[in-house]
C-alpha cells in the first residue's frame, strides 16, 4: 500500500497549482471572483483535507484519495470527445435537453437543447461571472460557505459549471440532463464544477445529473451545486453516479426552498471508488416539501457515504427521507441523516429511514439517523436497519423451483425497487432497473 504523504506535502501540491492557476488567469486575477478564490485557498491551507477526527467525516477515511495528487483540470490538456462517444453515456429512450461538461468545462458542441427548453436560460458559470458582477455578491458569497477542505478547494479553483435559470410559470415536460464526463489518460485530474439552478415561481423541472468517467487515470470530482426552488415550484432531481473505480467523488448539494415548493431528489450510486454526498435542504418559508431518496450499491473495497441535512426552520413543512444500501465483499456504507426541527417549526412532519443489506461478513455500514426536535407540535420518525437477506423469503422462492442465485437477485432487486420505482421518468426508471439488475448479478456472485 502506498504511504499517505505528509499533510504539508499535499497542501503544497494544491497551493503550487493554485499559483499556476493564478498565473494562467491572464489579468483576470483582478476580477472580484478571484478574491473568493484567494480566501478559499488560504482556508484550504489552514484546514487541509478532513480526517476521521472531524465528526462529519468520522466514518469516511479519505486516505485512498490522499495517496495521489490530482491536477486541477483547468491546468491540464483538454480532452476531446465526439458526439458518438458522449451518446453512450445517455439514457436510452430519455428525451432530454443535454448539457455536457468535460472535466468540468461546459461544452457547447456536445450539448443540445429541446425546443421546449427555449425559455430556460442555460449559461456557463464562466459566462455569468463575466457578465453579471453582482452574481458573486448575491450567490457566491452567500450560502455556499467553506465547511471543510473540500468545499474550500472547490471555491479556490472556481472556474466553470452551469447556471440554469427556469423562468416563472414554465413547465418542462422533458428532463434536463447534466452530464459530467471526467478523466484523462494523461494524469490524475481534479474536476470541480460549481453549479447554480434556479427554478422560478410555479415552474416544474426534472433534472438528471449523471457522472461518468473516461480515461485510465484517476479523478477527483469535487462538485458543489446550489438549487433555489421558487414559490409553488416542483423540482425532481436525479443524481446517477455511475463512475468507474478510478473515481473519487465529493458532492455537495444545497437546496433553498421557497414557500410551497416541492423538491425531490433521488441519488443512485452504483459506481466510484469513494463517494461522499452531502445534501442539505433549507426551508426558507412555510408549506414546503422535501423528499430525499437514495440507493447505494457497492462491492470490492468501495466506500459510499451519504450525509443529509434537512433544516425545518419554519412551520408546516414536510420532509420524507429513504436511503437504501446493498453492500457486498469489503464495501462500506455510511448514512448520516440529520433532521433539525427548530423551535418555530410547528406542524412539521419529518420521516426518515435508512435500510441496509449486508451480503458479506466483511461488508460494513455505519448509520446515524439524527433527529433533533425543538418544537412540540410535530410528527417525526426515524429509523435504521441493517440485515441480511431474509432466509424465509429465500426458502419460499426456492421451494417454488427458483434457484439460489436467481432467488437472491430477485430479492435484492426487490429491495432496491423501493427507490428505483420512485423515478418518475419512465425510460430512466427502466434503464436504471436494467443497470441495477446487472450490477446485482455481479454483486451477488
Amino acid at each position: 500500500m502506498t504511504e499517505v504523504p505528509e499533510k504539508e506535502e499535499i497542501k503544497n501540491w494544491y497551493y503550487s497549482n493554485f499559483e499556476l492557476f493564478e498565473n494562467s488567469l491572464n489579468g483576470q486575477s483582478k476580477a472580484p471572483v478571484h478574491k473568493i478564490r484567494k480566501e478559499a485557498i488560504a482556508e484550504f491551507i489552514e484546514l487541509g483535507f478532513p480526517t476521521t477526527k472531524n465528526e462529519e467525516w468520522k466514518y469516511t477515511n479519505i486516505a485512498p484519495l490522499l495517496t495521489q495528487n490530482f491536477k486541477p483540470a483547468y491546468l491540464s490538456n483538454k480532452i476531446s470527445l465526439s458526439k458518438e462517444e458522449v451518446s453512450k453515456f445517455l439514457f436510452t429512450g430519455v428525451n432530454a435537453s443535454i448539457l455536457v461538461f468535460v472535466n468540468g468545462d461546459f461544452s457547447n458542441e456536445l450539448s443540445s437543447l429541446l425546443p421546449e427548453a427555449k425559455g430556460v436560460k442555460f449559461e456557463s458559470l464562466r459566462q455569468v461571472l463575466n457578465n453579471e458582477p453582482d452574481f458573486i455578491e448575491k450567490y457566491l458569497l452567500k450560502s455556499n460557505k467553506t465547511i471543510d477542505g473540500f468545499s474550500a478547494l472547490n471555491r479556490a479553483f472556481i472556474s466553470d459549471g452551469i447556471v440554469l435559470r427556469v423562468p416563472d410559470s414554465t413547465i418542462l415536460e422533458n428532463p434536463v440532463h447534466l452530464l459530467f464526463i471526467s478523466g484523462s489518460d494523461e494524469e490524475n485530474l481534479l474536476v470541480q464544477p460549481l453549479n447554480y439552478i434556479f427554478v422560478g415561481k410555479n415552474s416544474q423541472i426534472k433534472i438528471i445529473e449523471s457522472t461518468v468517467g473516461v480515461g485510465s487515470k484517476a479523478y477527483l470530482l469535487n462538485s458543489v451545486t446550489e438549487i433555489f426552488t421558487g414559490e409553488n415550484s416542483v423540482t425532481n432531481y436525479y443524481k446517477i453516479q455511475n463512475d468507474p473505480d478510478t473515481c473519487f467523488q465529493v458532492s455537495r448539494t444545497l437546496i433553498h426552498q421557497e414557500r410551497s415548493s416541492v423538491f425531490t431528489s433521488n441519488v443512485i450510486s452504483i459506481g466510484g471508488e469513494l463517494i461522499r454526498n452531502d445534501i442539505s435542504t433549507i426551508f426558507e418559508s412555510e408549506g414546503c416539501e422535501s423528499n430525499l431518496y437514495g440507493l447505494y450499491l457497492a462491492d470490492g473495497k468501495r466506500h459510499i457515504d451519504n450525509h443529509t441535512l434537512i433544516d425545518h426552520a419554519v412551520a408546516h413543512c414536510h420532509s420524507n427521507e429513504l436511503y437504501k444500501g446493498i453492500l457486498d465483499e469489503k464495501a462500506r456504507g455510511v448514512f448520516n441523516g440529520k433532521v433539525l426541527v427548530r423551535k418555530d417549526a410547528q406542524k412539521t412532519q419529518a420521516y426518515q429511514s435508512n435500510k441496509n443489506l449486508l451480503l458479506s461478513r466483511l461488508a460494513k455500514v455505519d448509520t446515524k439517523p439524527q433527529l433533533e426536535i425543538f418544537a412540540d407540535d410535530v410528527k417525526c420518525s426515524h429509523g435504521a436497519t441493517i440485515g441480511q437477506l431474509d432466509e424465509q423469503s429465500m426458502f419460499y422462492l426456492r421451494s417454488r423451483g427458483i434457484g439460489t442465485e436467481k432467488a437472491r437477485s430477485l430479492l435484492l432487486n426487490a429491495f432496491a425497487s423501493d427507490i428505483v420505482d420512485l423515478i418518475s421518468i419512465e425510460p430512466l426508471r427502466e434503464t436504471m432497473n436494467r443497470i441495477i439488475l446487472d450490477r446485482l448479478h455481479k454483486v451477488s456472485l
Partner: protein, 257 residues
C-alpha cells in the same frame, strides 16, 4: 411415488420426528392428522427441503430419486410442492414476476421452452378463475397485505399453476371460513384432476377440510411417530373423540417400551 423410511428429524437439537414410515402411491390422497406439536408441519417442511431441519437418519425416495440429496429448488422442479402454513410476504416482487420466474425455472429444468409473457398470462387467467383470485392480487407484491384467506388461496393458485406431482398442504385450512375452505378444496381437487397420477398430502389438525378433499388414507401422527393409519373414517372418529384417546393409548405403549 413417495416412500419415507424410518425418518428421524431434529430441529435445533431436539428430535421431532422419530421414525416416520409412509408410502404414497400415484393418485392417492393422504391426510396426516395429529395434535399440536406432534410433528406434522415438520414432516411437510422437511420434505420440501427446509434447511434448519436436520435429518438424522432414514431415507426419502421420490419418483426413484433420493429426495434428501436434492436442494429445495430441485425438489420443486422434480414435482414436490409445499403449500405453506404461513406464506411469506415478499415486498417488491409481484406475484406475476414471482410465478413466471418459477414456471420458467421449472420448465428450463425439464428441458421445455420458456413461456413468453402472453402464454404465461393465458395460463394465469385460466387458473385464477378456479381459485377466485382477483386480477389485482396478481400484480401486487407476493402476499404483501393479503388477508389470511388470500394468502392461502394464493398458495393453491401457485399449486395449480406450477402443476407438481405431489402437493403437501401444511394446515392450509387453518383460519379459513367455510367459503374460503371450499375454494381452497376446489383448487386442490382441480390439481388432482390435472393429472390422474397427482398425489396430495393434507396435513391438518381438523377433519373439516377432509369433507371436501376426501382422503384415501388417514394417518395419525403423535409424538413424532405415525401411531395409527386407517381410512377416512379414522378422521371422523378423531373429530368425534378428539386426540386424547390417541395420547392415552400411546402413553401406555411408551411406558411398556
Amino acid at each position: 411415488m413417495l416412500s419415507v423410511k424410518d425418518l428421524y428429524v431434529s430441529v435445533e437439537g431436539k428430535e421431532i420426528l422419530k421414525g416416520i414410515n409412509l408410502e404414497i402411491k400415484k393418485g392417492e390422497i393422504h391426510a396426516i392428522m395429529g395434535p399440536n406439536g406432534s410433528g406434522k408441519s415438520t414432516l411437510a417442511n422437511v420434505l420440501a427441503g427446509r434447511q434448519d431441519y436436520q435429518v438424522t437418519s432414514g431415507e426419502v425416495i421420490f419418483e426413484g430419486k433420493n429426495l434428501l440429496e436434492l436442494s429445495p429448488e430441485d425438489r420443486a422442479r422434480e414435482g414436490v410442492f409445499l403449500a405453506f402454513q404461513y406464506p411469506v410476504e415478499i415486498p417488491g416482487i409481484s406475484n406475476a414476476t414471482f410465478l413466471k420466474t418459477a414456471v420458467n425455472e421449472i420448465r428450463k429444468y425439464k428441458g421445455l421452452e420458456q413461456l413468453d409473457a402472453m402464454e404465461f398470462l393465458a395460463l394465469m387467467k385460466d387458473k385464477m378463475q378456479v381459485v377466485g383470485m382477483e386480477q389485482s392480487l396478481i400484480s401486487r407484491p407476493v402476499n404483501q397485505g393479503f388477508s389470511g384467506g388470500e394468502k392461502k388461496r394464493n398458495e393453491i393458485f401457485q399449486l395449480t399453476v406450477l402443476d407438481p406431482k405431489l402437493a403437501l398442504l401444511d394446515e392450509t385450512d387453518s383460519g379459513l371460513d367455510i367459503d374460503a375452505l371450499k375454494i381452497v378444496a376446489n383448487g386442490v381437487n382441480l390439481f388432482k384432476a390435472q393429472g390422474k397420477d397427482n398425489a396430495v398430502v393434507v396435513v391438518t389438525h381438523y377433519q373439516r377440510l377432509l369433507d371436501y378433499i376426501v382422503p384415501d388414507f388417514v394417518h395419525v401422527l403423535y409424538n413424532g411417530r405415525i401411531v395409527k393409519s386407517g381410512s377416512k373414517n379414522l378422521a371422523l372418529e378423531l373429530e368425534e373423540k378428539g386426540y386424547d384417546w390417541i395420547k392415552e393409548e400411546n402413553q401406555f405403549s411408551d411406558s411398556v417400551k
